[in-house]
Symmetry: C3
Subunit: 289 residues, 3 copies
Amino acid sequence: VGAGQGRPGDAGAIFFLTDYGQLDELAGVVRAVLARLAPGAPVVDLTHDIAPFDVRAGALALERAAPHLGPGVVLGVVDPGVGTSRRAVALAVGAGRGGPAFLVGPDNGLLVRAADALGGVRGAVALSPVPGEGHATFDGRDVFAPAAAALWRGEELAGLGAPVAPGDLVRLEEPRLAAIDGGVEAEVLWVDRFGNVQLAATAEDGRAAGLEPGGGLALFAGSASWTARFVRAFGDLASPTAASRPELGVLVDANGRLAVVCAQRSAATVLAVQPGEMVQVVRAERATP
Amino acid sequence: VGAGQGRPGDAGAIFFLTDYGQLDELAGVVRAVLARLAPGAPVVDLTHDIAPFDVRAGALALERAAPHLGPGVVLGVVDPGVGTSRRAVALAVGAGRGGPAFLVGPDNGLLVRAADALGGVRGAVALSPVPGEGHATFDGRDVFAPAAAALWRGEELAGLGAPVAPGDLVRLEEPRLAAIDGGVEAEVLWVDRFGNVQLAATAEDGRAAGLEPGGGLALFAGSASWTARFVRAFGDLASPTAASRPELGVLVDANGRLAVVCAQRSAATVLAVQPGEMVQVVRAERATP
Amino acid sequence: VGAGQGRPGDAGAIFFLTDYGQLDELAGVVRAVLARLAPGAPVVDLTHDIAPFDVRAGALALERAAPHLGPGVVLGVVDPGVGTSRRAVALAVGAGRGGPAFLVGPDNGLLVRAADALGGVRGAVALSPVPGEGHATFDGRDVFAPAAAALWRGEELAGLGAPVAPGDLVRLEEPRLAAIDGGVEAEVLWVDRFGNVQLAATAEDGRAAGLEPGGGLALFAGSASWTARFVRAFGDLASPTAASRPELGVLVDANGRLAVVCAQRSAATVLAVQPGEMVQVVRAERATP
């Protein structure tokens, strides 16, 4: 946001997500490259602790963040295929809604869910290889950050590489979700730091299955089952005490999805589930014991 | 601090502390909200690794940081009561000393110790609920960040909600500290990354009990005791070698409190203590073996 | 980079590396001091998770980052000798290449390898003690950050302390590296988050020993040995499957050094090596089984 350099004040930020972790200087070196090539650009670290190579987890995190991002460029790098023939891409998304205009990263499904949340892919290019570089192990530094910086500076997408048809971009499988008798069966998308278990089902999916705040529920995962309540907020659940087991709840979380939660305890530990596993949420009166 | 947008150059920074951890994008999404609602605001991450729900640890970290902060707004979120009837608050503190003018967060004791260190609470409001939001699980994103951004932009505190009497704010219990024969008994406030054990006793508390640099000490915790020396710096302690056990010291730490330390070793491991436990520091000649 | 305050837009950034970790607010307090004393300075966090007191790991991380940094000041703090007679220093390095002009930190070898990568030490001063401070346990906050901020603001190096002859600066031992029959023996410099094992040998060291992409290799570490291939990129290695063991490779990494790698697996786990240990890389036809 400097005066007399970089972009005018409305260029927004560069939103940065990777699986680089924080033990090494990898994310830091990319930040330095951005500071050099896009001086004045605010860099907003979303997270760098996506599990190594977990493209799906990165894609879901970007999708959750997308509605809250202001103008700018998304730089996402979770890239098990670095140094293979996978494409490096930059995507233009629907503008006019105040969010980011571009996403940059590998063409492995990392970016497309967020792009859809930002209005859909309007254009895409395969980033041209960097001339003269002998190695191909740190594309975040050598390929993606320079492209993100160029877009932030106002360069044209078309100048960064050859066009790619949006329909040719790699997409991840949709999260698994099914209506079942008296409720929904849904994939666990995310377990957050607090142990809240986000499911693929949205509030609307829940309503369609007759799941509404106030109702008693049964939860099934693996060969086990639990009772729970559909609540509006953490505060509706009994706080754990020495004498009582923690109470499980289901609520509509901050991303509009159903989540299994537990006041001040990890619901993921109670259920012993992790992302990719299935959970059934059923109205109590329909649960066959 | 851009030209032609946001606040003038003297608006300072937004100082940001949470228990969100860094594995998820939670802190990152809040940073994105700040970048959108307070464009140009430098966001200074204090830490996001306060233990989940540990309001006391967060309050002590903010208190330690407070004297070193420049102008701006403190945004603190350690909030086990999110979605309950606990208030969300913004506090105005004594200005004129170059530090932050406002603190924003839950009314659970997180902010008040830092506010006291910044000149005391001069005014407070209960933040008005966000209209139209159906969920109440991510107030950092939906309530606290927008309020912090508004204050950074120069909006009036009174416009953010109904006044709260400073005396009605929730306060944490004071750390435990007592004079004992020949020394002090003090609660462990903090164990830092290096294993240094900060006690509730200040340098002045130590002097009042006859504890001064140069003296021999005895330390008691649980049923164990150790000898130690009151030193001025880590460098006064013998470095550990293969042949020698590490030497324990007590010094006045960078926050003006007594701390039990060990050169290049964790004193917390030697003493096997953690925050909330009590340690006695006694002049060696007064320690009854 | 604000208008009307701080330095003009070309002052660059402050690049910040420590072993403070992220659990505490230590790095955050230093960031706050920088925001206060160098308002408008972009602070680029390189990493704060250097292992506690591991000066060598910090020095190598700074050296790896150095070629990618733009203008500004490097602030590095890995300082087991805080509070001893070790000097605090600021170094001026060869400018005219667009990188940082100064490095600030303890005189324990942390900075000199990076300074060499930035054109060599052209001048150095021992930072004057901070008057009136009673403690000496947090020099990052009290000594190094103020000096880095002063240099970023444009103050003269000579004003910060007494000159030190560059030849008198503390230097770490050179990494161990030797030509052996049919290859090289090299110290492990770094194991990154993904388990890639960076060796002290550069691509040129490899070529001098007849190690070139395409060749079959034998690796020796401790009493074990493995076969490997010299490849150009991760994508040249077979991806692991349930039925196959992961394939080991050696490639020229993003810092121009030989690294032992494994597609989507940790080569460090396969080899069971860590920094400071030795690995032999030998052409397969020269390896005596």
